[in-house]
Symmetry: C2
Subunit: 89 residues, 2 copies
């Protein structure tokens, strides 16, 4: 399955007629050394800061998921951008 298919399938049902400007960021980490603390939560904040340089982000429109299993961890950020969002650059 291609990436575009994955993101298409993960889009909320019923949203086909309501086009929304949307950003989805996934960070997956395969770790060989489990003892170390994860830096994904810190990355999350910094990535959001980078994105806010380019588009307006309403922090209430950001949803965060974090999954961890054995030596794999995945961070998912879903951001619904305002309809009137103007690029800042």
């Amino acid at each position: 399955m291609g990436l575009l298919d994955y993101f298409r399938s993960s889009r909320p049902k019923g949203s086909a007629n309501v086009a929304k400007e949307r950003l989805q960021i996934l960070v997956a980490h395969d770790r060989t050394q489990r003892g170390r603390p994860s830096y994904l939560p810190k990355l999350q904040q910094e990535i959001l800061e980078v994105i806010r340089k380019y588009v307006e982000v309403d922090m209430n429109a950001v949803s965060v998921k974090y999954e961890q299993e054995d030596s794999h961890e995945v961070l998912e950020l879903n951001i619904v951008l305002p309809d009137t969002a103007e690029g800042r650059i």
Copy 2:
């Protein structure tokens, strides 16, 4: 399909016995206004800079894929981290 399943299925075949420290970053953008230039290429550089604060990244071990279709674009960064990578924080 869950996220962890997706990343598991996208892992290179035959890598099961060779544990590698690996980071995968996906940025998907659903755009409502197509006329505007994409900022994903710029995000890519900045996200890499953020990651390099936490782990050593050999730029030769970074592979980048970019897919675009209609109003969707996806940026994928695959980073193989050095086995001896020490977290910087």
